[in-house]
């Protein structure tokens, strides 16, 4: 039995009244109507422009902002600030409540937030994936259309936007929130309520994006280039709001991570003993905090162009479309490293466990992560090589983009030397990490082509560039996302995931992923443009091959879903505390991790990679309970 008593629970009926998910939905809808009518009754009639275009553009914004505010108030985010203003003492009361309703409310337990993120990110990942299946359906033949012409662009935009917005927090959300406090020996994050806020903001944002279809969708793809975005139908406002809320969520998430790691490390945990996963989270968080606000301001300008008739991006009024492109990519390039760096961190964290060797070149690996983080600010104009930017800039950005492959290569080196002469076990998490090497290599090498300006003239805006970023983002991030799931979900939930199903999922995903995206390099080289609903007939065979592979890739995800539901709901084999034999501190705790993490704050004496060095494990928390609580 656990030495820590289970947290108290109010009866179910009591938990259903008050500030919870149901109240949040009700207040969210109410807020939406308040915003909508406020826009129509108060603001709308005074603006002639809205009469010309026959649409009160401001109403979409005010309605959704009202809805989000109502939703957050209903969850109870204003309760604590109001209480403190009224003089109540500080408390973390929400964490104490137990039961399944925690997962649908504002909970300050970082472990609950981690699990909420896992399900939330998973839900929107599957919605984005569904859109990808629809894209490939449309591209089966260039001669007829499965969807009306504008709808295809909305589907393309939805897929890209949903994935980019949601998977940005794909590893930091679930896994960093859950494990960073444990890895640094803390009981919580620095700002638990902000942590919960980042999750619910992301959920609200996702809901806003899925409803874009009711406003006509949007034609710009995930990049939202002005002036196409400023002249588009109202569906683009959903896109703008989605990304602005995602940006806000990212900024707060990154801030929380940085402050937590800087200030809440346990005694003995010096910078050279920090797990490499935490270093990866830190380098990602810095990028999030600095890049996301740029996105928010850019989108605010686009929204102002659409509602208040400013001309930031309209040359007739003195603005420039280059302003949008540059601002967007100043965010956009660090954004793709926000997606890639957690992948590096996971691979370097898992390889020592499954090779039974220390992480090779720890300082080099940290240098690589920080180097990528720093250099990512100096490369953004490579997205604009042929757009007419000043010619003097292009050699510089070509050089800086080529240079960023050096710190990336350091990650490869450290990973490769870690498995070299090790005792490798091909467990499911390890398979996904090994696949990362293959995928990211191809992605990275194709990036070398794209960074060379003459070669970029051939491939920019074609499927080659599309295959490049799918190899790095999907092959890099998503594969490590699944590695992290198979590695850590037994710890998070206390149930094992079926290994055979995991291996089937891996092999199906790996084979069909490569079968889908490798031919796209050829398709791009042969001249098929991105986001185009039709293509030259001689490319139909390749497109059909890719589409069928994509459908099978989608099917492999169903294998994963089946494994998840089967293992967690039906088979329910209790997981050991340390199924992988890891020296990392989270595996010295029971599965699932108890509410307060540690009975006593541990003291660290080394990094968690001491395999083969004849030392005791990192820190043994005194009196840690064994088994389920």
């Amino acid at each position: 039995m656990s030495a820590v008593a289970a947290p108290p629970q109010r009866p179910l009926w009591r938990r259903l009244i008050g500030f919870n998910f149901i109240t949040a939905l009700i207040l969210g809808v109410a807020g939406w109507y308040v915003g909508w009518f406020g826009a129509h009754k108060i603001v709308g009639p005074s603006l002639d422009y809205f009469g010309d275009i026959d649409y009160n553009e401001l109403s979409v914004y005010l309605a959704y902002i009202g809805g989000v505010v109502g939703f957050l108030v209903g969850l109870g985010f204003l309760n604590y600030p109001v209480k403190r203003l009224l003089g109540y003492p500080p408390s973390l009361r929400e964490k104490e409540e137990g039961g399944w309703t925690r997962y649908f409310s504002l909970c300050t337990d970082h472990k609950v937030v981690g699990i909420q993120y896992l399900w939330g990110v998973g839900l929107f990942f599957f919605i984005g994936g569904l859109n990808a299946m629809l894209i490939r359906t449309e591209l089966l033949t260039p001669h007829s259309q499965a969807f009306p012409a504008g709808t295809y662009l909305t589907i393309v935009g939805m897929h890209g936007t949903m994935m980019m917005g949601v998977m940005t927090s794909g590893i930091l959300g679930p896994f960093a929130n859950y494990f960073v406090p444990i890895m640094i020996g803390a009981r919580r994050m620095a700002f638990p309520r902000i942590e919960a806020l980042t999750f619910w903001l992301l959920m609200a944002a996702g809901a806003i994006l899925t409803t874009t279809v009711f406003f006509g969708g949007f034609p710009t793809g995930w990049t939202g280039y002005a002036p196409l975005s400023t002249q588009a139908n109202p569906g683009i406002d959903n896109y703008i709001l989605f990304f602005a809320l995602v940006g806000l969520s990212m900024t707060l998430l990154g801030l929380n991570m940085i402050v937590t790691v800087l200030t809440m490390r346990a005694p003995g945990l010096t910078w050279t003993r920090l797990p490499i996963f935490v270093w990866g989270v830190l380098s990602t968080a810095v990028l999030m905090v600095l890049a996301a606000p740029v996105l928010i301001s850019t989108l605010a300008m686009a929204a102002l162009d659409r509602t208040a008739q400013t001309t930031f991006f309209n040359p007739s009024g003195g603005g420039s479309n280059y302003l949008y492109q540059n601002l967007f990519w100043v965010f956009g390039h660090p954004e793709v490293y926000i997606l890639a760096l957690p992948g590096f961190a996971i691979v370097l964290e898992l390889l020592p466990v499954f090779s039974r060797k220390p992480l090779w070149g720890y300082r080099l690996a940290v240098g690589g992560l920080l180097g990528v983080s720093l250099l990512s600010w100096f490369v953004w104009q490579h997205h604009l090589f042929v757009s007419g930017i000043n010619g003097d800039l292009r050699p510089f950005y070509m050089l800086s983009t080529e240079l960023i492959s050096i710190p990336t290569g350091l990650t490869f080196l450290c990973g490769m030397m870690t498995i070299w002469r090790g005792n490798i076990r091909f467990t499911v998490p390890m398979l996904f990490c090994l696949a990362w090497f293959f995928n990211f290599l191809i992605g990275g090498l194709s990036g070398v082509f794209l960074s060379d300006v003459p070669s970029d003239v051939t491939t920019h805006g074609s499927f080659f560039s599309m295959a490049h970023f799918h190899y790095t983002i999907m092959g890099g991030l998503i594969f490590t996302f699944f590695a992290a799931i198979y590695y850590w979900v037994p710890k998070m939930t206390g149930w094992e995931l079926n290994e055979l199903l995991g291996k089937i999922h891996f092999w199906a995903m790996f084979v069909f992923f490569n079968s889908t995206f490798a031919p796209l390099f050829a398709v791009g080289f042969l001249g098929q443009a991105r986001r185009a609903v039709t293509y030259p007939s001689n490319l139909q065979f390749l497109n059909d091959w890719v589409s069928v592979s994509a459908f099978l890739l989608g099917a492999s995800m169903l294998v994963f879903l089946f494994n998840l539901v089967w293992s967690l709901a039906f088979a329910r084999k209790p997981a050991e505390a340390n199924p992988w034999g890891s020296r990392s501190i989270e595996f010295q705790l029971p599965s699932p991790v108890p509410v307060h993490n540690f009975d006593r704050i541990p003291v660290f004496s080394s990094d968690p990679y001491g395999y083969g060095e004849g030392t005791q494990p990192v820190a043994v928390p005194a009196g840690a309970p064994a088994g389920r609580e």
Partner: protein
Amino acid sequence: MASQPAAATRPGDSTNHGLRVVVAWLVLSAIATPLVAIYVGPLIPPGNGSVQAQGQTFSNQVMTSLVTPVLCLMVVFFGYGLIKFHLRRNEAVLDGPPLRNDSLIQVLWIVITSAMVLFLAGFGTYELLKDGAGGGQGPNPIALPAGHKTAFQVQVIGQQWQFTYRYPSFGGMESNQLVLPEHTLVAFHVTSLDVVHSFWAYELGVKADANPGVDNVAYVTTKGPMVFHVRCAELCGLWHGYMFNNGVVVNHGAFTHWATRALALYHSIKGYVNRPADKGGAPFAYSYLPEPTRRAG
């Protein structure tokens, strides 16, 4: 299994695995790289339709050949490592050797990768500045091919959703057919009337974004007569995917014949020649800023 309390490692292994891998890699690269260069090289796009396209093809070929040894290293390393060092079924899970660092490998890796990267950056810069590589360089191009002062000017106007072409040396006449003279240095001036498009002439190796209010210059030196495909390479709305047509390179005689005829037809449109822009005329300009047009009713 519980966490290992003490390090029980495999008995030491004195084979120099590293040397084996390096030798295997060198041998494989020495075989594969020439094979790739000879057999895969000629297949690499965009081909030799213009001088710039040829330059791009050369860049692509060099990079493909450079990438081959990297791929060989990964194949050899992982092929050898994953087979040699994995635990067999039912073998005890013991810790491996506590190797944390090796300065020689670190230095070698950093030096070699930096050298490759710097070479590529230098090579790319050279190829780019030589003749512009067919890419759009904005209103003030710096990569100027020889003879650029007398280049044949063609304006490409992107609008939703077609490309039209104006020839300033033929009275600014506008046509929706792109006809070019052979063996000529052509300066494309790419601009847009509304949103951002991108003029991509695949076989010519030209890609330049069309921005409203901006003149984006791209140079290309045509070769012999051919047909080439033009499509839009930047998402521009509803019919971005349908925004394509064919262009053609013809000999000088045929070109002059076509241009004169097109100009005559253009002149037949009432009221175009003499009116200034604010009275409904459309004189040639290197960029246009159309107002949302007036509507009656």
